[in-house]
């Protein structure tokens, strides 16, 4: 049992079968080998962090997972069955939701309209089939409250929310629409301290709902705060997976950077980066 911390409550059940298992994934773009055999899996209710420096292949890897790219080699198992996604839509329908850095949010539109964009609830039939605004507003307020954000009103424009709140709307939307796996692409990279803490708390909540979270980051401290397992990518290869409590920030950092230069940088900064 690991100790409860601010952003990590409870242990994951380690013997659960993974929802998604990716084995020896390779991806080539022409003569460039972006991924050279990456294995990765996500279990229900865990937060699996994927770490790596710029150019390590993180983006290519999650795009393979969310159906944007097809792997050149390797196998993907979804709930035990071999599967391949042809489009991002297939992955979405299977329950793999990706929150990309741009968040797919429209600032001029209200939170509710953003929340249900493309999947509006309707009532009535035939010509009278219409957007059920009241129901949508209620659901949106309720889901946001569950994530710990009290909106001024469902008609508040997304543009007036802070970066962290927007991230939370995107996460709440994915969870509401039945995500089993939630992939977050650097959700904390552009956020301030307080907003980062909101997002990390949200990840903790989502995890406790039994959803597998893939948290992509190059910030070791953010990853260590919420993560259950940590996989480090470097130059298109997995450098290994560690579990919570088994690894120190320094070790993770060294893995990410491949060791040497890091030692020098750390020395000059006087601590972790």
């Amino acid at each position: 049992m690991t100790e409860d911390t601010k952003f990590h409550h409870g242990d994951t059940v380690t013997d659960l079968a993974p929802i998604v298992e990716m084995k020896n994934i390779e991806k080539h773009f022409g003569n460039i080998i972006a991924l050279a055999g990456v294995s990765f899996d996500v279990k229900p209710g865990e937060c699996h962090c994927l770490l790596g420096d710029n150019g390590a292949g993180k983006s290519t890897f999650i795009k393979t997972m969310s159906g944007v790219h097809k792997p050149t080699k390797g196998e993907i198992f979804f709930e035990g069955k071999p599967l391949h996604f042809d489009t991002p839509r297939d992955a979405m329908e299977a329950g793999i939701a990706t929150v990309f850095q741009d968040l797919a949010m429209i600032p001029l539109m209200s939170v509710t309209r953003n929340f249900f964009m493309g999947r509006e609830p309707t009532k009535g039939k035939g010509l009278l089939k219409r957007f059920d605004v009241d129901h949508a507003n209620d659901v949106c307020m309720e889901e946001m409250r569950k994530m710990g954000i009290n909106l001024r009103g469902p008609d508040q424009a997304v543009g007036t929310l802070s970066g962290g709140e927007r991230q939370t709307v995107a996460i709440a939307r994915a969870v509401y629409f039945g995500a089993k796996i939630l992939i977050l692409d650097e959700p904390t990279s552009a956020l301030g301290v307080r907003q980062t803490s909101n997002v990390l708390a949200t990840i903790d909540k989502v995890r406790n709902h039994g959803i597998g979270v893939v948290f992509i980051s190059h910030n070791v401290r953010h990853a260590l705060a919420v993560g259950d397992r940590f996989t480090v990518l470097n130059r298109g290869k997995t450098l290994g997976t560690a579990t919570r409590g088994e690894i120190t920030p320094e070790q993770l950092q060294d893995l990410m950077a491949g060791g040497q230069e890091m030692a020098q940088l750390e020395g000059s900064l006087g601590g972790t980066v």
Binding site: L108, M109, M117, P154
Partner: protein, 368 residues
Amino acid sequence: MSDSAQIAGDERVKKEPFMTKLMKRPELGAMAGVVLVVIFFAITADDSMFTLAGIMNFMTPAAQLGILAIGAALLMIGGEFDLSIGSMVAFAGLFFGVCVVTWQLPLIVAIPMTFVFAALVGAVNGNIVIRSGLPSFIVTLAFLFILRGLSLVGLKAATGGSTQLRGVRDVVENDWLAPFFSGEAFGSLFAWLAANGMIDTFKSGAPKVPGVPVEILWFIVLALVATYVLLRTPAGNWIFAAGGDSTAASNSGVPVNRIKVSLFMLTACCAALVAIITVIDAGSTDARRGFQKEFEAIIAAVIGGCLLTGGYGSAIGAFFGSIIFGMVVIGLTYTDFDQDWFQVFLGGMLLIAVLFNNAIRKRVTGER
């Protein structure tokens, strides 16, 4: 686009003052504009402007423009422009004229054919914009000239050298469908009102206003339907989303391309409706029909609160924008001012509207 149902009971939320709430509505500017213009003409214009006859007088051009402006507004909210609607009026007018005069088709065939034809041209416009990824401004600017030129060439071919195709009135006069697209509605109601002394009459006892011109009814119905679609249907949400950020929208599963092409088809159909109404009304069609209407329609939409960048605006706003337009064009004839002040007035309105909209957008998005 705001939805008024508030969730009760968050103690940290101050009650929003009514004015602040109002400020967030995209159509506010146009409504305020209508009030200002009415006050202006109430002071300067002859009293007859605001009699029933006077109102019908300025509502008729307002309606003809408004039908185009509502289409243009929806397309602008969807993030695209159509500069070819004015030329489309002439082109659809030509097609309609040829249908009824040259081919002697009844209206029940000719009108649907004109709409289908216009929709096809709109679809061509839309598909070129979507597939090429070029700005719709340039593509539809090309069509502004192409369609205007085709109308001229087509008219000459159809009439043997003239740029006017006459004789529409004679062939449609007795068609049962004609009253839906020409003349005045509610004639008997107005006759009854006149007989009971409730509205002004001529000496003969006939009412001065024989009814409501049909284009005004089309205009009102279209504004209501467009508003309903925008605010209360999934398609409305898709239009806002497609215009707000098309990448984000398509990543969320909104059929952005289909929405945009449909909107181009819709604006072309609005142009066809105006063409049919005005051609039947005038009894002929000519190559200058709809000249510069594209700019007027876009101006009306912008006065109505549409952002040039898309994703924000309202059909009701375009409705009021068109009424302002009609009032100014016709209203000046009731005053002692020189008619040509109209253009100055129009440009000024546009500038004020754009500045106002920009400020509102910053407020809504919390941009600083």
